[in-house]
Amino acid sequence: MLDLRDFIATAEAELPDRVVHIDRSVNPAEFEVTAILQQLEDVGRNPMAIFHRPLNLFGEVSRFPLITNIYAERERCALALGMPTSEAKFPLSLEYGRREKERISPTVVSAAEAPVKEVIQLGDEADLRQFPIVRHHHMDPAPYIDMTPIMRDPDSGAYNGAYLRMMYKGPQKLGLHMSPRHNWQITRKHEERGLPTPVAIVVSHHPAFFLGTLNVAPFGDDDYEVIGAVAGQSLRLVPSETWGEDFMVPADADIVIEGEIPPNVREVEGPFGEFPGTYGPQRLRWVIEVKAITHRRNAIYQDVFVGHADDWIQGGLPKEARIYNRIKGVVPSVTAVHLPTSGVCRLHCNVSIDKKVDGESKQAAFIVLGEVDMIKHVFVVDADVDVFDDRQVLWAVATRVQGDQDIDIIKNAKGNTLDPSQTDPIMTTKMIIDATKPVQRPFSERILVPQEAKDRVPIADYVRPVGAPAPLDVAEPATASGPLPAAGAPDEPAQP
């Protein structure tokens, strides 16, 4: 059974220095949650943050604590999927890809067995102002809920979940932005029939649920089955308050908001600080009319720090295995794929290959660009470069790239309208940077400190801890290669 509190306990136990608690009252609607997160980020920290006394939209201390930045480090994503933190890099990507292909049927439970039904609010009682909804960036016009609405395809009956931004517009009204993807298709089908679209917003749940919604399964596949597979257990469902068994909601969620999207109604929404770290413009978007709210008695409100690592890592992780598996079929020497946070986990892709034949790197890059339209720049490196380490990738670019020979530009390709560098709403320019060594000619080898030497002098035994007193008598450590040279006596004469 998925329970957010179990995950928090695991994260506290496994990564205690990466969880912070904020006991003083803060006002999320006045940027005070993101102000804390931004200050932590500015000093290189991305901890999971639990705010114990956030204000709600009435200006009172909310009954709901607020948790955010859960996904800002891959180690916590690994814990969410039941994996050790040591496998948070590419093994996590591969495991996500493996699970995503499977399906686990959900389990229907009664309302009495469903924690999300511990508190049920209908009609005017279902008031959004009770929540500590977060206003993230200075040009956001209102607080936004940025978690996952679930919709149901009226033809196949399949459920679909996706992260979408929802602007607070009133006690029982939200604005809703959608891209032309699965939920957009479901809404359009309802609109064509003149019907409202039922929607259940899962505001808070165990992180495995949200990671599961990021799957890239085809339209028509049931997301509840995929989410169960990604989480590694059958997802428990319960009938909704508004539509009964015609629309099931996650039984173990912390908070679910039920509502309807009236057909063919649009209102202004945005601007909103988006994933590239820039604002998406104000535009005409759908609205949601809230019908019911259900939640656990001890529910915790959840938020994603969009446009930052919390948002980026979730977006990149599920794509890495998918790209890797596609490349593997054509370039078997591929060793790893990573969408780095420096490229907002969308626009840049690093690929490493154990190149056997010149040309393999470009072939791999073409597959990347064909597989994910958002990716704009592909960096292909040799297997001796860690694609998860931007410094190593840039070192390879610095030392293994000649601009006139190793960079290819592809014009008029499909991009992403939120990329502020685009000069066309849809079309973009792609770039392939081949930072691999040539196979056909001799190439300077990378410098290397012998591993056996590192094993001989482990730093824990040799380097004095910061602040530790210097020993009065320094005894020369015996090494396998004999006494150390005297200080100030270099091995080789200085250059004139």
Partner: protein, 92 residues
């Protein structure tokens, strides 16, 4: 985002980006800074994607009382523009 345009709020002077679909429809814009709603024509300055700068189409026109503006004038049908492959958190 080649075709966004920037609108200056007639009340607080704040500048914010709008999608081109709002250029073409009769809708009230919402200032994210002061929360005022206003018709595009009331903006003292609009900056288009091509860098063109011009005052609002009839910036001197009297404005309705702030409370009378309402959130938006909803058209009977959804305007063109829904199909634009924009993005959001869904671009995850």
């Amino acid at each position: 985002m080649a075709q966004i345009f920037y609108v200056h709020c007639p009340t607080c002077g704040g500048k914010f980006p709008c999608h081109p679909e709002l250029w073409q429809v009769d809708y009230e814009l919402l200032c994210p800074f002061c929360g005022d709603s206003f018709p595009q024509e009331a903006s003292p300055l609009i900056i288009t994607a091509t860098g063109e700068r011009r005052p609002g189409r009839d910036a001197g026109r009297p404005r309705p009382p702030s409370g009378a503006a309402g959130p938006a004038r909803t058209p009977a049908r959804a305007p063109a523009g829904d199909e634009d492959p924009s993005s959001s958190a869904e671009s995850m």
